[in-house]
Subunit: 404 residues, 2 copies
């Protein structure tokens, strides 16, 4: 397995592009992205579990019910959610894509991100689709990744090559964060492409499996968005023997997918709104997987832990407190906590009680940009990792005045 360049266009047969079409007032910010496969694809997606969900979710769910797709269209600047005419407009957008690119409109995955409850204007989108028709290229991944960003500061894309049944198979992904991110749900927008040959049911299985330990383990602020979606399209151009069941080929594919998904999850957490630090919580020794995930998420979601990390304050009692309110059956009196970063590590809690530690060392550890909170529960073999970020003045600033 190796990292390669090219983002969503790294797999063979994919082109992409991103433009500013005018959904956003800021001309410097691209706001419309398209990804197109030159061959038919198996497709799967995971959606937000919020009962309030955007019109694009309704339409995409319908379109890929049969397990196939050819293209993704995604706009930023407007979520097309809680509007009377949202579904109608999302369907119309897919029709425009179909006409422009010469594909079946039902083979279009559509997604939107931005403000909720403001009617979306189709005029700029129609113009944008026209611009993209000519701009789509194998070099367009970066433009597309930029176009789906909202308050993200960093572009999020990655590609890897894995060997599946003796053939080189490529996977590419792009994602956007960076607020309204919560574990336990599909948590943001991410679009994955691959040239692996794999059946739609196995693709669906791989995606769901991987999402649980990656995208669903990210928290920025505990809010679950109405529009979040992770989709994957597989066009089979790598020429591997098609994966139709579990086995070594499926496992190899899942490994590649997991690597890319975990990397997206980390990038989303690190670029959380206002974040200055990435928090990674590794829980081991848990009685079961559910408790492991729950504890890891409780910690990265705690406002008090997040604020303490911002202040580089080794206030580990807040970590214990967050563990304590995690649902599930477990014992507090076997739990140990260690804080770790590039600057070293410091054990702060053993068997549920505080241990003396050097505040000076702890400060050094916590002044780094990536902090690991290691929790050994000492009562089983299950483990999980969750990613989050610190809570900062800038989070408040960004979200106190988002629409203006």
């Amino acid at each position: 397995m190796k990292e390669i360049t090219g983002g969503v266009c790294a797999p063979q047969g994919f082109v992409a592009g991103g433009v500013h079409c005018g959904i956003r007032r800021n001309h410097a910010k691209k706001d419309l992205a398209i990804v197109l496969s030159q061959a038919p694809c198996a497709a799967a997606a995971v959606y937000t579990r919020n009962k309030v969900y955007g019109a694009p979710i309704t339409v995409t769910r319908n379109h890929i019910a049969g397990g196939q797709a050819r293209a993704v269209i995604c706009n930023s600047g407007n979520a097309n959610t809680c509007n009377h005419d949202g579904v109608e407009k999302a369907v119309r957008t897919c029709q425009m894509v179909g006409e422009a690119l010469g594909i079946d409109p039902r083979d279009v995955i559509i997604a939107s991100t931005g403000v909720i409850g403001q009617p979306i204007d189709l005029a700029p989108i129609e113009k944008g689709i026209g611009m993209l028709k000519d701009a789509l290229s194998p070099e367009g991944a970066l433009d597309a990744a930029q176009a789906i960003m909202t308050t993200d500061l960093k572009v999020k894309q990655m590609a890897v090559e894995v060997e599946v049944g003796g053939k080189a198979v490529r996977l590419g992904a792009m994602a956007k964060g960076s607020g309204m991110i919560r574990p336990n749900m599909a948590t943001m927008l991410s679009f994955i492409t691959t040239d692996c040959a794999i059946s739609a049911p196995m693709l669906d299985k791989a995606l769901h499996q991987v999402v649980e330990d990656t995208y669903n383990m990210v928290s920025v602020d505990g809010d679950t968005s109405t529009n979040d979606m992770v989709s994957i399209m597989a066009n089979g151009l790598a020429g591997n023997a098609p994966i139709r069941e579990e086995g070594p080929d499926f496992d190899a594919f899942c490994q590649g997918l997991c690597l890319i998904a975990a990397h997206m999850a980390r990038m989303i957490a690190a670029d959380g709104e206002g974040a200055t630090k990435l928090l990674e919580c590794q829980v081991s020794g848990a009685p079961d997987k559910g408790v492991a995930r729950g504890v890891a998420k409780s910690i990265v979601m705690s406002s008090l832990v997040k604020a303490a990390m911002f202040g580089a304050d080794a206030n580990w009692g807040r970590v214990l407190c967050a563990i304590g309110y995690t649902p599930g059956e477990f014992d507090i009196h076997t739990i140990g906590v260690t804080l770790r970063s590039a600057a070293g590590q410091v054990e702060v809690c053993r068997a549920g009680f505080g241990v003396p530690f050097s505040e000076e060392t702890a400060k050094k550890v916590l002044l780094e940009k990536e902090i690991q909170i290691l929790v050994d529960m000492g009562q089983g073999a299950a483990s999980a990792t969750a990613w989050g970020c610190d809570l900062t003045y800038d989070y408040v600033k960004i979200n106190g005045d988002y629409r203006t």
Copy 2:
């Protein structure tokens, strides 16, 4: 029913006091409080549901298992939690109180609030108990209420008089917030006194009933503390016919208790760490009580809603989003949302969709200090109210650097 003065000393036969004994370095901040009843009391309490809980919780639970108590001792500055010798020291503290005040040590309710995981020093507490022995008085309620404060900016106390079976009965309360506050659990420290004659089982029943709709409906930051407790002591000196079962007397008592508890809940929310605004979410028309409470709490707990309120931004999509991720069965398409304050009101959502509204009016409404978010679910008769506060720069500041 009328509001009266005197806090926890308003009911007959209670004395209280608060001093600086040296647990905190700041000499201007009182850090030890005692409340004493001159007659034996029926007693009840509700505790945090956090699996990590302070030594004082263990000791108090044990002490009032029989439904009686005489005194409360509470320190701020150290939570006495996650320390090896915590229980032993809490027991010893109760012994010191018993010796000083001439009561059974097992009749002492003990509570602590402050940093977790730092061994507590008994020397200043012993000194403080000595000081308080002489200082306890019917005028001591304010001192006691001040001594239990941590990052609270405002003293929280109240007293009411209600008629129970033809007799005037008084209830008094004090409370402290103001971070690590989350609904669905005992949520902070609050001590209630009353001169009502009521059996321990009925007192317990009244307290549990009232807590669900008051203290448990407050959120400051979604974190559930390890030390939270609401206790009540009833000494019977009002001379009413003792309440031993449900009926008009019990109802009258519960009404008084509910009024005082709701007022404490509002005060705690309004004085949340860094808060500039009180948020009150009133949910009506819910299919059942669980959904009503859940929706109200989701909204006041949403970081995105809280930050929008700080910025006086009528970003109602975030309210819908928070409703949408509330667990339970309900329909989004009958829900209406109105924002209201002393400056007026503005309907922002009807039947799950946005309605046009004046941004100017909305801004005026949201610039007030107390904001009501009214949610009519239009699908039943259940209702609930939750209280919270905005998310501000100061929350981050306070919690990024709490221990220093």
